[in-house]
């Protein structure tokens, strides 16, 4: 039952390992953005020694983990499925003896695994060596961080899957995807820690899945906040978004008309 999905995880990993040059170029860009972002945030911290509970080392850790996880979690949608919906190729995907959502999730986990090796390690190591950085105190934290990162990938995938499904109704979902991509950077804690936000906005943000995609694994690594609550929030959103994906997929499949030829 599970075997084919495990194969898909491997296939996702191998597919992305082919484009090593692309990964390296992405790495360079992540590192430049990391350096610029950390400079701005350190200027904020520098005056008082800490801001919103972040000192210099916390800030470095926040920026470099964010730049590293960005490609792993893939907070910006690639619209691959949406384009298959538009072209009609999705009919082939739906005809295969699998459930489309877990099949794509398996491939996405493989992709994320590859990104973890190539896109996460180097910027984090670079940041840790060159700038103030805070390693976790407890060795267990690394394990919990791994779990939290997997959950973050699942949540991000489930959100992107729903986004792609809008193409069944809109045909061209580029506008929706642009708005999503534009908003995630600030909402999930890539550009500025969620803790910086004024309280009402911060609380409202946790009523959305966005912080669970990036800020939560970073918080787990930085050992801030109650781990159980953070992981619970992630599990809840993963379950909700995956279930919503199944529901919408079922409706979309019923709507789909395959025209011959």
């Amino acid at each position: 039952m599970l075997r084919p999905y495990l194969h898909l995880v491997r296939a996702g990993f191998r597919r992305h390992s082919i484009y090593l040059a692309a990964s390296l170029a992405g790495l360079f860009t992540n590192t430049v953005f990391g350096l610029l972002r950390v400079a701005v945030l350190l200027a904020v911290v520098g005056q008082t020694g800490s801001a919103a509970g972040y000192d210099a080392a916390d800030t470095g850790t926040f920026v470099w983990l964010g730049q590293g996880l960005l490609a792993v979690v893939m907070i910006w949608p690639d619209r691959e499925l949406a384009q298959r919906v538009r072209s009609g190729d999705v009919a082939i995907d739906l005809g295969r003896p699998w459930n489309l959502q877990p099949a794509l999730l398996a491939q996405d986990l493989g992709r994320a695994g590859h990104a973890m090796l190539i896109r996460f390690g180097p910027p984090v190591l670079f940041g840790a060596l060159v700038l103030p950085f805070r390693w976790p105190h407890s060795p267990w934290t690394v394990l919990v961080f791994a779990l939290s990162t997997v959950l973050a990938v699942v949540i991000s995938f489930a959100a992107r899957f729903l986004l792609d499904l809008t193409a069944f109704w809109l045909l061209d979902n580029r506008g929706v995807a642009t708005v999503y991509a534009a908003a995630t950077g600030v909402l999930c804690g890539l550009t500025v820690p969620v803790a910086y936000f004024p309280d009402p906005i911060r609380i409202a943000l946790y009523a959305t899945p966005f912080p669970a995609m990036l800020q939560t694994p970073i918080d787990v690594f930085g050992e801030r906040g109650a781990t159980a609550a953070l992981l619970g929030h992630q599990v809840l959103w993963a379950a909700l978004l995956l279930a919503a994906g199944q529901l919408v997929l079922a409706r979309a499949t019923r709507k789909l008309v395959v025209q011959g030829g």
Binding site: V32, A43, V179, V192
Partner: protein
């Protein structure tokens, strides 16, 4: 003259085709505006924590941001489609452009004028208007001229950097990602006082890539305040000269790149 008329006709047809799907267009423009407002949100959130950043107050940083935002939006509108250059090269479509009796760059630029990118410039205009209304800048004739000219000069500098860095794609297959570090990276280096960046970042991303001339130096002139780094006074009015130099260098790099391009024979 003929080629100008052809390019204008091409542009008109691109504009018409984009307005054919108004809902998608409106959402797209909104997305661009939100993307631009990202950094605005960061600035506002940061100033909820501190009163000054790199020695500049919130209104002063917003003035920088407004000028930088319009510059980036206009540059993106003019040359943003160069991001697609790797695709043109990979698919061999560039060969078609080379065979036509028009400049390659002008064809690429008119190939896909994305009006939705005006959403970005729009956010910059709004912020700039708000800061000016707030009375940050003395309304002298020189300042009025500066406010009008700076975004155009800034857009020229940003667009030159765009052309220069996208030329990497002629040598490196993944040139687009590399170029992103300089093109989209400039949204950070232009919108903040250069005092927040360390000496090395400043040399590379503010002077060598002349981001500091897009908004920072003109802003010093507008606010009539001394440079915290103690740089020469003349620099604050030097942006137009830097823009001319940037255009010349970009043209040279682009020409060299196109000359050495060999099609894949596809």
């Amino acid at each position: 003259m003929d080629s100008v008329r052809i390019l204008l006709r091409l542009l008109r047809s691109r504009v018409r085709s984009q307005l054919a799907y108004p809902t998608s267009f409106a959402l797209d423009a909104l997305g661009q505006a939100i993307a631009q407002a990202n950094e605005l949100a960061v600035i506002l959130i940061v100033f909820a924590q501190v009163d000054s950043l790199g020695g500049f107050s919130r209104e002063e940083v917003l003035l920088l941001y407004g000028l930088a935002g319009i510059s980036f939006g206009l540059a993106d509108l003019a040359v943003g489609q160069l991001d697609e250059l790797p695709r043109w090269i990979r698919t061999g479509e560039l060969d078609v452009l080379l065979a036509r009796p028009l400049g390659v760059l002008s064809q690429l630029v008119t190939s896909d004028l994305q009006l939705r990118r005006l959403g970005r410039a729009g956010v910059g205009v709004l912020v700039l208007a708000a800061v000016l209304a707030y009375g940050q800048v003395e309304p002298t004739p020189v300042n009025v001229l500066l406010v009008l000219v700076t975004p155009l000069v800034g857009a020229t500098i940003t667009a030159s950097v765009w052309v220069m860095t996208c030329s990497i794609s002629f040598w490196v297959v993944e040139g687009r990602e590399l170029a992103n570090a300089f093109t989209y990276g400039s949204t950070l280096t232009t919108a903040y006082p250069i005092t927040v960046f360390g000496p090395w970042l400043r040399r590379l991303f503010c002077y060598a890539v002349p981001s500091a001339f897009v908004a920072y130096f003109p802003t010093l002139a507008l606010l009539d305040r001394p440079d915290p780094l103690g740089l020469p006074h003349a620099l604050r009015y030097a942006a137009p000269l830097v823009a001319v130099a940037a255009v010349l260098v970009a043209a040279l790099v682009w020409r060299t790149a196109v000359r050495r391009y060999q099609g894949a024979g596809s």
